[in-house]
């Protein structure tokens, strides 16, 4: 068993790519070695400047293996007397074997002579030297670069390479750097040369030079330090797993420094303070015992401490400066109310063909007003329209220019300060929600309607232009927008005729492209795809979902209620026979090409089972109309299920496709009438018994 160590020391590698780079390197080398029949267990480390790979169980040499070389065909290799020809002798000589050692093998092309030889395994070190430069130089990163003479491309310039197998250098050259046993310590704390002989020695020497190679250790250390330093001032660090990950990748030594900003800034909105700390300064905010934001924070430092207090003071200065900036924006933006900023949106592009943001706002305002009325929220319509009008005005404030992540939130805060009503400012604050599958919805109806109108406007515009997501390509995040529409409708329990809403949204765009009908025809199914996704996440079965989504579903909230009813009712004993019977109904009707039910004539009903079914159905029809009208789908399905046995009997006793055309048509009409009635809830034929 051999011990292997690889370290690539580069200029600072972006924190965001380190995890991936580490696993790509590990996978890449393990695969390349496996292809050479060398197996081992690999471990990877990384710091902001290093990628490290090691193993303790590599074989010293590749296993021996047998290779077969195929030579000339038997016809060429032997003469008529079966003696080897010159061709055979030549081949044997070339392979370094006696001509007697040739054997005959059958191939799809006929019989050939061949030689089997045992090839001795090569030294692992030799193979590593061949494989590593290829694996490393083929690694791919989101944004690669060239440096120096411009001949090489990687994530950052490489400065040194350690590659050892059992303490001996595996010699190769990577981007013009020769591998060896030398690296360097921490950039500022121990910049000297380090010479290493093996893995344990390497790790020990790095740690002595203020480099912790294990990102997991760095992350744990940071978390522990945050907890300890917070306790000293009676606070707790705000939990932030993503930020801790990033911080651990930004350093070689996990230092953490506590600082505090001027308490006077605590009267700025918390959203702004937290964003400035987390996103801009990458420092951890703290909360006091009551849960309120405290004026302490923790900054990562690639350092063992803060020998002269510079690090804490520097971070404090920067944070205070940022807050001073935010305070300036907060005050200065206040001089011009949102209302007066709206016309300036004409300067912001929305989409090349769909015009500027002012036009978007005007469309959303009109659409939101209409949707509010359609959704039975006519009382709220003026507030909805008002919120829609002001919703994007924060894009032309300095605060949002500085804190783009706070778009919407800043608008909401400014609207509150401008004296807008609570439902209006909250709607502005919330209207970018939900941003994903697990994000929360706008807190109230006004915000939900604005959010709906905003997404529908975007979707209708892009679909009208034919800019529809394909495969994994969704550059305008339209799937996310569609999911937001669906979630707001479903979780907000809002009932909307989607095709009508889409046509209205399309009608407000004055761009050339698909007609309102065409837009609805492509966008509505796209939205139903998101409904399918939501229902699958909720645990409904495939056939339950399909039975409803294959019917007409203008109102997705209604559709989901029907799916829930199907799921609840399918357990009833009568339901399975009904589903089976309806597969027959559907088959017969399809076979006979019946699309609509004709007039039923009781006089043509000759059989008891037929009369019984018709009678029961006529009786049930009134009740079903009432139940379906009241969206009492579960009860409606139970009533349908109660007709199951009767339908079964009908199929047992009665021949539908009889020769007498009038009778046949009458029977088909009965079945078609039942189908049309029942499929208003779900296509029962889709349900697996």
């Amino acid at each position: 068993m051999s011990e292997f160590l690889l370290e690539i020391l580069a200029e600072e590698i972006p924190a965001g790519v380190l995890s991936q780079a580490r696993s790509d390197l590990l996978r890449g080398l393990a695969d390349a070695l496996a292809a050479e029949r060398i197996e081992g267990t690999f471990f990877a480390h990384s710091t902001s400047r290093r990628l490290v790979l090691f193993s303790r169980d590599l074989p010293e040499v590749q296993e021996d293996h047998e290779v077969e070389s195929v030579g000339p065909s038997v016809r060429v290799a032997f003469d008529a007397d079966g003696r080897p020809t010159r061709a055979a002798e030549g081949f044997a000589r070339g392979q370094g074997v006696a001509v007697e050692a040739l054997r005959v093998v059958a191939t799809p092309k006929g019989e050939y002579v061949s030689v089997r030889k045992i090839v001795e395994g090569r030294f692992t070190s030799e193979i590593l030297a061949e494989v590593i430069p290829t694996v490393v130089s083929r690694m791919s990163f989101p944004r690669m670069m060239r440096w120096g003479d411009g001949r090489n491309t990687w994530i950052r310039p490489v400065h040194s390479v350690i590659c050892l197998l059992d303490g001996l250098v595996v010699p190769f050259s990577l981007f013009g750097v020769e591998s060896g046993r030398t690296t360097f310590g921490h950039r500022t704390l121990a910049p000297g040369r380090i010479v290493v002989v093996g893995v344990d020695d390497y790790v020990a020497r790095l740690r002595a030079s203020f480099v912790e190679p294990d990102a997991g250790v760095r992350r744990r250390t940071l978390a522990e330090k945050a907890e300890a330093l917070a306790a000293e001032v009676g606070c707790s660090a705000v939990e932030d797993s993503d930020l801790l990950d990033t911080l651990a990748h930004l350093v070689e030594w996990p230092g953490l420094v506590r600082g505090s900003f001027e308490a006077a800034y605590l009267d700025l909105p918390e959203e702004i303070l937290v964003t400035a700390m987390r996103e801009h300064q990458k420092v951890l905010p703290t909360r006091d015992a009551t849960g309120a934001l405290a004026a302490h924070f923790f900054a990562v430092a690639d350092h063992t401490g803060d020998p002269k207090g510079h690090i804490a003071r520097g971070n404090e200065w920067v944070l205070n400066a940022r807050f001073a900036d935010a305070r300036f924006f907060w005050d200065d933006d206040g001089k011009l109310p949102l209302e007066e900023r709206v016309p300036r949106l004409a300067r912001l592009s929305f989409q090349e063909k769909l015009g500027d943001t002012l036009r978007k706002v005007e469309r959303v305002e009109a659409l939101a007003d209409r949707l509010a009325r359609d959704l039975g929220l006519a009382d709220a319509a003026p507030r909805v329209a008002r919120a829609a009008r002001l919703a994007r005005a924060d894009l032309v404030t300095d605060m949002v220019r500085e804190f783009p992540d706070l778009q919407g939130i800043v608008g909401g805060l400014y609207a509150r300060r401008d004296g807008e009503s609570e439902s209006v400012w909250q709607a502005i604050y919330d209207h970018y929600l939900p941003a994903g599958a697990d994000d929360s919805l706008p807190r109230a109806d006004v915000g939900r309607v604005v959010a709906l109108a905003d997404r529908l406007d975007t979707l209708a515009g892009f679909f009208a232009l034919g800019l529809v997501p394909t495969g994994s390509r969704d550059p305008y995040a339209l799937r996310r927008a569609a999911l937001a529409v669906v979630r707001i409708l479903l979780e907000g329990n809002l009932r909307l005729d989607l095709p009508a809403a889409i046509r209205a949204a399309r009608g407000l765009h004055d761009v050339a492209g698909a007609t309102p009908e065409e837009t609805a025809a492509s966008l509505h199914p796209f939205l139903l795809e998101r409904v399918r996704f939501v229902l699958e996440r909720r645990g409904f079965r495939h056939d339950e979902i399909e039975s409803v989504l294959t019917t007409d579903c203008p109102d997705v909230t209604d559709a989901v209620e029907r799916v829930a009813a199907v799921a609840a009712v399918r357990k009833l004993p009568d339901f399975a026979p009904l589903a089976i019977a309806f597969k027959r109904v559907q088959n017969i009707l399809t076979q006979a090409g019946v699309t609509t039910a004709g007039e039923l004539d009781p006089a043509l009903m000759s059989d008891d089972s037929e009369r019984q079914l018709a009678g029961d159905f006529f009786q049930a029809r009134g009740i079903l109309d009432e139940l379906v009208g009241a969206r009492r789908y579960e009860e409606a399905l139970s009533v349908m299920a109660s007709l199951g046995p009767c339908l079964d009997r009908f199929f047992t006793d009665v021949m539908v496709l009889v020769d007498d055309e009038a009778v046949r048509r009458n029977r088909l009409s009965l079945l078609a009438a039942m189908r049309d009635q029942f499929f208003r809830v779900a296509r029962l034929s889709e349900i697996q018994a």
């Binding site: 200029e11 670069m145 060239r146 440096w147 500022t188 930004l250 690639d302 400066a321």
Partner: protein, 304 residues
């Protein structure tokens, strides 16, 4: 440390590392990168080591001299070295020592920050350098300029001089830093800032600016046709600045914007191509004579 001492020390340091000290360009630019000593010199095979101060103008950043950080005109210290040497980061860290920062006493980090200029058809990869949480430098390996892929590659280091002085002296307002002993930055520049802000936001004659843009653009093309690269580039810079003024004035609509940026980029791309051709025609005078271009070594830096 006051503002001018910072400039002097940085100039002295980089001169001692073999950099030619250029002077600020005498046409308005939005960033030190637009100085021909960067934008044109990064092109082609000739080695180049250069440093200079460049006043940079961003009309939209105007705050009438009232904001503690934002200015229409601020000063950058720019270093460009081609090809980027292996020890460029060490050279940079030493430059901090030269301005009185002992790195071991501080937290010094290089965080990913890439750079792109649509108007110049240029982009690069690199970091913002953070000292105790403060961004003090922008560090970029140029990958493309004027739409041309670069090899050899240039390392560009840009120090924001006002911010750096503020940070080193823990000053809260840019107007309060000392420019020279006894003279504050605000005493020198506050009224300028007020006037250029007022001009940019309220007074500038947009009709005239539009006309100027058209004329400068046409002139730049005419110069290009006449084979006059530097005048073509200077008039392209005029276009860029005129566009920035119009933009600050709110006179450029969203749809128009993309088109205007492209027009400036087309000029920049034309200039870059013409420059490459012109240097080639001159036989790349800065290449060491005896060697072919591909094998040209880096000029050695002198030890301080």
């Amino acid at each position: 440390m006051d503002f001018q001492t910072l400039i002097l020390k940085l100039s002295e340091y980089w001169a001692s590392r073999g950099c030619l000290i250029e002077q600020p360009y005498d046409t308005e630019v939005g960033a030190g990168t637009m100085h021909p000593a960067t934008f044109l010199r990064v092109l082609g095979p000739e080695p180049w080591r250069c440093a200079y101060v460049q006043p940079s103008r961003r009309p939209a950043d105007g705050r009438y001299g009232e904001n503690p950080f934002r200015l229409v005109k601020h000063y950058q210290f720019q270093v460009v070295i081609k090809p980027s040497p292996d020890d460029i980061q060490d050279l940079y860290v030493d430059s901090l020592r030269a301005i009185g920062i002992e790195p071991a006493d501080h937290d010094l980090r290089f965080e990913e920050d890439n750079w792109e200029s649509p108007t110049l058809g240029a982009w690069g990869v690199g970091w913002q350098v953070l000292l105790d949480g403060m961004e003090i430098t922008q560090f970029t390996y140029f990958q493309q300029a004027g739409g041309i892929d670069l090899a050899p590659c240039t390392a560009e280091i840009t120090y924001g001089l006002e911010r750096l002085t503020m940070f080193l002296t823990r000053t809260r307002n840019v107007m309060d830093i000392e420019w020279a002993p006894g003279v504050k930055y605000g005493e020198v520049r506050r009224q300028d800032e007020y006037e250029v802000s007022k001009y940019g936001f309220e007074t500038a004659d947009t009709d005239l600016l539009r006309l100027l843009f058209e004329k400068f653009e046409a002139e730049s093309r005419r110069c290009l046709e006449a084979g006059l690269v530097v005048p073509a580039y200077e008039t392209a810079l005029k276009c860029s600045h005129t566009f920035n003024l119009l933009d600050a004035r709110g006179a450029v609509s969203a749809t128009e914007r993309v088109g205007v940026i492209k027009r400036v980029r087309d000029l920049a791309v034309g200039c870059a191509k013409a420059w490459v051709a012109s240097r080639e025609a001159l036989g790349h005078p800065l290449l060491p004579r005896e060697l072919p271009a591909s094998e040209a070594p880096m000029p050695e830096a002198e030890e301080a």
